[in-house]
Structure formats: structure tokens, C-alpha cells
Amino acid sequence: MSTEVKTASAAAVIKEPSEPLFSKKNKLLLTDPLNDSNPITVQVLGICSALAITVQVKQALVMSISVLAVMIGGNWIISLIRNIIPSRIRIIVQLVVVASLVILVDQVLKAYVYDVSKALSVFVGLIITNCIIMGRLEAFALANKPWPSILDAIGNAMGYAWILIAVAVVREAFGSGSIMGFKFIPDAWLITNGGFYAHNNMMILPPMALIVVGIIIWIQRAKNTALIEEH
């Protein structure tokens, strides 16, 4: 979708026919998005969902798995049919593929984790417009073989997932005093019950997700100085 994505992974275009499944290049497809080209903290894509559904770890986890499933499916299918898609209507083809996958995921969620599905509300449907997915289809799957495309999908989805879960852990721990619904702060500590502690209400509000993502970016750049732009 955006131009940064294209340049970021223009490298792996044509491969030798007899390449091992986990060659160095392929491994890089998996590990690179976790840090150096992380979809959220470096490319700043998929921010809306990162802000919206990170109030609880459970929601973030389900969202991450959904995105992972859609990305693997989408990248694989588009990569399979990449040579027969007329380039003028490729966006529509991509949308059709992603939308069908999202509907599948949505139905599965409704069937098995109904409460989480309700909490995620429109954001499952909005996976269709998640820039990370469209970006990878456009920038990678259209130009690569199925196997590297799947690896790329897994890598990017994991890069998205770890940020989502890290933000959700912080927000749920301070905002509700629990992780994955497990309360580690006893109710007796709360001010309302005569104690001294109060949950941080701001953690529940979306702005705090932005600040937490910002702090993650800050720490990441302090550790990985290659990410700092020249001025």
C-alpha cells in the first residue's frame, strides 16, 4: 500500500530453484519483521487496531491469531495466483481474497470464542483494511513464491502480535490489575474497599495505548540504533 513497504522488502525477488526451506534469506523473512522492520514500531502500520483492542491480553491474543491466519492465507493464495492476476485489478483481487478469509475467521471466532468476538466487535471485520496485510500482499506476495510468502506472512504477523501483546500486558496489568483475566491485585487493596490502590483508568483509554507504543519505540530505538534516522 505505501511506498516504504515496497522498498523495505524489494530484495527477495527471484530465487534459485533448489533453495533449502530455511535458508538464510528465508530465515530473515521470519526474523526481520520482529525487530528491524517491525510493522507497528518501524513501519507504523496497523496502528488503529493496536490502539483499539489492547485493553485486555485475551483480545490482543485473539486478534493476533486472527491476523496471523488471514495473513498466511492471503499471502499464500495471492502468491499462488500472482502470475494470473491482471495488474490493473490486483487490489480488488487482493480485497476479495482477504475479505473471504476475514469472514471465515469471523465465523470461527463467533462459534468458539463468542465473548471475545463481541469485545472485538468491528475490529475483526476491519482486518480487511489492516494496512499490514494489504502491504505484504502488495509488496511481497505478488512478487514471490508461495513458501517465502508464507514465511513473510508469519514473520510480519508475529511482529504485529508481539507489540500488540506487549501493549496489552501493560494496559491490562495497570488498567485492570489482571493478566489474561487472572487478577493479581487483591480486591481488598482497592480504595473503594478501604485499601490504598486504584486501577489506572487512563490505561483503559486509547491515548495510553499510543503512549505505550511510543515507549516501546523509544526502547527499541535505544537498543537498535540502526533505526534512528539521520537528520
Binding site: 480504595i191 473503594t192 490504598f196 486504584a198 489506572n200 483508568n201 487512563m202 490505561m203 483509554l205 503512549i211 511510543g214 515507549i215 523509544w218
Partner: protein, 399 residues
Amino acid sequence: MKIIKNLFDSLRPSFEEGGKFERYYTAFEAIETFAFVPNHVTHDGAHIKDAIDLKRTMFLVIVATIPALLFGMWNTGHQHFLAVGELVGLGEGLIDKFIFGALKVMPIVIVSYGVGLGVEFAMAVYKRHSVEEGFLVSGMLIPLIMPVEVPLWMVAVATIFAVVIGKEVFGGTGMNILNPALTARAFLFFAYPTKMSGNLVWVSTESKATVDGYSGETLLAQSINSSTDYIDQAGTAYGSVSDTLMAAFMGWVPGSIGETSTLAILIGGGLLLFTGIGSWRIMLSFFLGGLSMSYLFNLWGANPFMEVNPLLQLCMGGFMFGMVFMATDPVSAAQTNMGKWIYGFLAGLLGIMIRVFNPAYPEGIMMGILFMNVMAPLIDHYVVEASINRRMKRVTVTT
């Protein structure tokens, strides 16, 4: 004086390069320059010859907050004794009230300074730059805008948030977009609303039985329901608007620690204006902005809050405190003279507007100033652009 100087001189070698505590030189330097005017000399570039430096500027602002702080201490005690029905008269038990208040307020001041300076020193040692003085003022302003019943750990959390997220991420003192003290308050307001608003946080009753009719409401909270029948904390109604205005101006009403007394704040403001540290443009335009918005609401008059007497509106809540100490923050305010007028006027206007339109945010002044802090660079940009354009027209091209 000589003794202290000798002490610093004897300690210096162990902090300088190669010394035992080389890593902590910045901390040493910060304390030394706090005690004595540094003897560093600027070598090149343009420089200003002046006896005043950042530390001493900050110190003057702290001096300016002292009237509000002292009055806040007395008022904390006064409100407490009013609520429990002892020493009801204004003149009674001056010392008792002051000591009670001081014991309540000092811990908040100590926590604010301790935590804030701790973070600043840690940051300075970690990033190896000299300790910046910015927190000296913020550390005093934070307690003054807290309700007296706020738990100390919340003050600590808010202070850390304000220093790290409000200031250090932007590059430290002088680089912050938002006023750190207001950032701390806004953080608490959204994070722990039960301890930052409502009727139970402004007066410390120490769980004693309160007098009949006591509510603990601030004047702002009362304004939502009625613009004339204000009740003081002993449960008796103020006779008239002018009585209420008197109480709000003098400050013997419930509220955040340092913001109740308009008089005490104006004394501090006078010092800031006299020494030229606070910008008179911002203060004046802020006042005019609030006043004009209050008058406009008077004309509209859709609910009791809109009908509040404009002068009373400006004496209530944090308007005056925001005008004198918050909006004038030289870092987060607009820099150009024209920009200061616009910035101050809109901040005052927005403050009153938010307060009246959304009674859930009774402290709209905080929001108004923070909002205009964000807008200040934009205002400056257009002021500078306009100035360039105006001069460009006069330019005659000679070829």
C-alpha cells in the same frame, strides 16, 4: 559560605575525570551550581551578559508561589476545621490551622520534589548531560494543583509520568511541548478520577463526623446547579454574589491546595511581572479571554453555570493559577509577541468554555492551557510567516 565552598572544592577531584565518582559528575555539578553561581565563561557565539541564569529564574518563580503555598496550608486547615465544626471563625486558631495544613501539604511537596528530582538526576547520569533545572518549578507547581486528599503514591506516579513522558522524551528541559505540572495533573485526572474530582477530595476530614449540611463541594460544583445560592463549608449560604466573590477572591473555599486564593496568586503574579519573568502579554490576554467568554455565556444564559457573574467565574477554580503560573511557562507558551496575545486569549477563552460546556471537566482551564500548549508552535509559525510576508512586500528588487 566559605565552609561550603571549601567542601565543594575538596570533593571536586573525586568527581572529575579519572576520579572515583566520575560517573556522577553531573549530579555533583548540579548541586554545586545550585549553591554558587558557576564560574564558567562562554567562549564564542553571541551571548547575553546578565546576572540571572536559569536556576535563579526558576528560584524567583518558586518565591512567587510561596504566598499561594502558605495560604494553601492555612486554608487546608481552615476547611478541615470548618467541616468538623471547630474553630469556625476566620481568625480563630490561626496556628492550629496552619500546622494542620502544613502537615497535610508538606508530604505532597516532598514526594513531588523527591521523585521528580530523582528521575531528573537518574536521567542526567544515564544520558551524561548536566542536570537540568526545569523541575525546580514543576516540583512546586504539582503539589499546588493537587487536591489535598490525593494519595502520595499517585503524586509520585504522576510526577514520573510528567517528567518522563511530558519532558524527557522530547529532549528534556526547554524542549517539552506540554507544561509538565499540568501534564501531571491531567494524567491524574484521567487515571484516577475518583481521587481528583468529586466532593470528597478537596477537604481532609480525617474521617471525623462533619457538620450538618456539609457537602465538600467546590464553588465550581455548586455553580452547575445554581449561580446565586452558594453555600460555605459550614453549611450556611453566602448572603450575596459579592460575599461569594469575596470568599473566592480571598480563597477560603475548598479547592486544590494552591489555587483557591486569587489574592495570594496575584501577589506572586505581581512579583513575576515586576521581575519580567512572567509575560504580561500572556497574563493580560488570558484574563481578557476568560472575561469575554464569561460575558458571552452571561448573554447566552442557557443554564445556571452560564449565568455566573464573570468576575466570580474567573476567581473560581484554577483560572487565576493557570493564568499566572501555568500559561506563562516560557517553554510551552508561544514565543512571539503577537503569538502570546493569541495564545493567552484562546487559552483563557477555551478554559472557561470547557468548564461550562462540560461540567464533567470542571477544571477546563487545565485542558484549555494544555490544548493551547500544543497549538503554540503553530501560532508562532503563522505569526513569523505573516511577518516575513509583510516585510517581503516592502522589499524592492534592484537588478
